[in-house]
């Protein structure tokens, strides 16, 4: 009798702790070639879960829950990440899913969330293909690749004198090809003349022939969709060939501190974009605002958060908001609630379109005297663009 009571007691305890924990699962690149960006997601997920628990966790159906996180390392291997998501859902019994980094991973892993009908909110893949398949259980907080240059083109339209001759250069990977497709259409719609429209091999280190063409065809504005090292090489070689268009703008690199450090003064006047800036105006229920978040993150992990980290935190917050709204842990109800969420966060206003993707405009930025300055946002100009940039000899 006594033994039965003890067993019952244990059972009650375990079932209580079970009911009190809500587990989010993710398989992230912690080792392998893309681990450098994968760490943003690990840190962001852990930070968000910690902060949400510290401010009281979450209440579902009148029962108080704390969040738990189950993270696995997919070693930058797509096949392994697919298996790990199956493991998370079928063996570890996590309640809901957070995403991996990079579009190709999301494309493969979203098939698992669709098969198991458990929603995945991911902040690591921006490719338009993820949302072109009609999946119902995938939601994303990165804006569509095809609209990356949207704000930059809006900025160009407001300039006096308005530039007319544009060069569009893009790397030959899936993401940058999508960026260029979108930009090409927007440029022609806005009435610009795209005099150079050229694809280059990813990780190329030689831009000299492209730069010579830019110089000889009197290009005024150069738009480059590529990777950080390519942006660095482009600017270094532009200097050595003394090619100075009125403006150049890059999809990546410009917001990061490494970029400015690597180029020193030559980083000045480089235009870029970011989906996120740690500004006070982005209010957040758990972190106060984006500026406070960035400070706390830097103090905790020893490096500056960028939009990957902010987007990762936003995915956790979106799931929490949806669970609260659904007042249930049933994946299907949470899914329906996700489609309806609309709340301000440190990352921006979070709400998902019909396909599950967020629509968040980029902010155009420029490096001015070694600092990143916001130039143009959805509401108009935020700062003054230094335009045209001075020739290399006159800096």
């Amino acid at each position: 009798m006594f033994r039965t009571l003890i067993t019952l007691g244990f059972l009650a305890c375990t079932s209580l702790t079970w009911a009190d924990t809500l587990t989010l699962g993710a398989s992230v690149q912690l080792t392998g070639p893309v681990a450098n960006t994968g760490r943003y997601y690990k840190d962001a997920y852990e930070f968000a879960v910690e902060r949400i628990n510290a401010s009281g966790g979450i209440t579902v159906g009148g029962v108080h829950h704390t969040l738990a996180l189950k993270l696995l390392d997919n070693q930058s291997d797509v096949n392994l990440s697919v298996r790990q998501y199956v493991q998370l859902l079928s063996e570890d019994k996590v309640n809901l899913l957070l995403g991996p980094f990079a579009s190709n991973f999301v494309l493969a892993d979203s098939a698992i969330s669709e098969k198991f009908q458990v929603p995945m909110v991911q902040g690591g893949g921006a490719s338009d293909q993820i949302y072109s398949r009609g999946y119902r259980y995938i939601f994303g907080t990165l804006p569509p690749a095809s609209n990356y240059f949207g704000t930059t083109i809006d900025t160009l339209l407001k300039l006096t004198p308005k530039p007319s001759r544009i060069a569009l250069l893009y790397a030959d990977d899936a993401f940058d090809v999508s960026v260029a497709q979108g930009a090409r259409a927007q440029l022609s719609q806005a009435g610009f003349q795209t005099v150079i429209d050229e694809r280059y091999t990813s990780n190329t280190s030689d831009f000299t022939s492209l730069l010579s063409r830019i110089k000889s065809s009197a290009v005024e504005v150069v738009l480059v969709a590529g990777h950080e090292t390519e942006a660095l090489n482009f600017i270094r070689q532009a200097k050595s060939l003394s090619v100075s268009p009125k403006l150049y703008a890059f999809t990546v690199g410009v917001p990061s501190a490494d970029f400015r450090q690597a180029l020193g003064n030559d980083a000045n006047y480089a235009g870029g974009m970011t989906a996120w800036l740690p500004s006070k105006s982005l209010k957040d229920a758990w972190f106060g605002d984006a500026e406070q978040f960035a400070r706390a993150y830097q103090a905790k992990y020893g490096y500056e958060p960028d939009y990957h980290a902010a987007s990762g935190v936003a995915t956790v917050e979106a799931l929490v908001r949806a669970i609260e709204a659904a007042n249930s842990l049933d994946p299907k109800k949470v899914r329906d609630a996700l489609a309806q969420v609309n709340f301000p966060s440190l990352y921006g206003q979070i709400s998902f379109g019909a396909t599950g993707q967020i629509s968040l405009p980029q902010t155009m930025i420029q490096v001015q005297n070694g600092k990143v300055v916001a130039i143009y946002g959805p509401g108009g100009f935020l700062g003054k663009l230094q335009y045209p940039m001075p020739a290399w000899g006159k800096r």
């Binding site: 080792t31 696995l72 096949n79 079928s90 063996e91 493969a108 098939a111 669709e114 398949r133 090809v177």
Partner: protein
């Protein structure tokens, strides 16, 4: 017991058990099974050209990718059924093996390895520029919610490849390949038409590898050039085939099973430093048993633990 009798016995016990896995195993076991069986098929496919013929091919990941693109193009661009895609991939891969085999199979040893190593890069660049293959953006395939089908397909393909290799080990054709591996000039002198034999072996290897690629593409639902022609996959097949015992019927299968299992347990239990442990296992295997599992099993009964010492001594490590 003679070797064929043992193989038949293993098959009689093992195959029904493997077929039943989707009904007795958890979803994770089924997922793991699909990846493992496909990996074993790749190792077995490599075994034909690398193990039996003695040509260390680094081009097998190209066949895998062509198989994947066959399925991708047929299903995503032309709305054809999966089977048609497998056929298209098979044709692409076998045709490619024939065309490319003619020049590269004239090379030997390291030169052959390096020439085939270049193939993956070249084909990646070509496919990235073909609009029908989705260029760099890749192709998205429809979702099929039946993992049982993928599992049984992968199992069937592995059985087929093992039967092919079993036939090879006992046929005139297979003996010709072994003769080429041991001494190509002598084989030619004895009347083996070496060029034809080598190209047929390359095409056979390509056929099995491309089918595995096709199944994998439909299972993953997405292919892009970087993922489809991934050279590390080729390295994996070689490691698994060599670990198990190249030039044997069951060696590559056992190697793939054991190494996949070790890698899977490491990656789900000690998730962060799994790569490190896996590397240690490979190094230990190369040092202690360079001729593979099947040689270990054969010799261990006679020599016992001295087998490992003997290997270290023989290879002056």
């Amino acid at each position: 017991m003679t070797s064929p009798a043992r193989i038949v016995l293993i098959a009689l016990v093992g195959v029904p058990l493997l077929v039943a896995v989707p009904w007795i195993g958890t979803p994770v076991v089924v997922q793991f099974g699909i990846n493992m069986l496909l990996m074993a098929t790749l190792a077995q496919g490599w075994n034909i050209i690398g193990g039996y013929t003695g040509y260390s091919s680094f081009g097998n990941s190209v066949f895998f990718g062509l198989g994947a693109y066959g399925v991708g193009i047929a299903m995503a661009q032309f709305d054809q059924p999966f089977w048609a895609g497998l056929g298209l991939g098979l044709l692409l891969a076998v045709g490619f093996a024939l065309v490319i085999g003619l020049p590269v199979l004239r090379l030997k040893g390291h030169y052959f390895a390096i020439a085939t190593l270049g193939l993956a890069e070249v084909v990646t660049a070509i496919v990235s520029n073909i609009p029908i293959a989705g260029q760099n953006v890749g192709l998205v395939l429809p979702l099929l919610k039946s993992d049982v089908l993928f599992y049984e397909l992968a199992l069937g393909l592995l059985l087929l490849s093992t039967l092919v290799v079993f036939w090879l080990s006992r046929s005139r054709f297979g003996l010709g390949l072994i003769a080429i591996r041991e001494n190509e000039e002598a084989a030619a002198a004895m009347g083996v038409c070496t060029t034809r034999y080598k190209i047929l072996a390359f095409m056979l290897s390509a056929a099995l590898t491309s089918l595995a690629g096709g199944i994998n593409a439909y299972y993953i639902t997405f292919i892009d050039p970087a993922g489809a022609f991934d050279i590390t996959l080729n390295v994996k097949m070689i490691i698994m085939a060599v670990f198990g015992g190249p030039g044997t019927v069951l060696g590559p299968v056992a190697g793939a099973l054991l190494l996949s299992l070790v890698s899977e347990i490491l990656s789900s239990k000690v998730t962060n430093i799994a790569g490190f442990f896996f590397g240690a296992v490979i190094i230990a295997a190369v040092v202690l048993m360079p001729r593979g599992l099947s040689d270990l099993i054969r010799q261990f009964r006679g020599t016992g633990w001295r087998y490992f010492l003997q290997n270290i001594r023989d290879h002056r490590l």
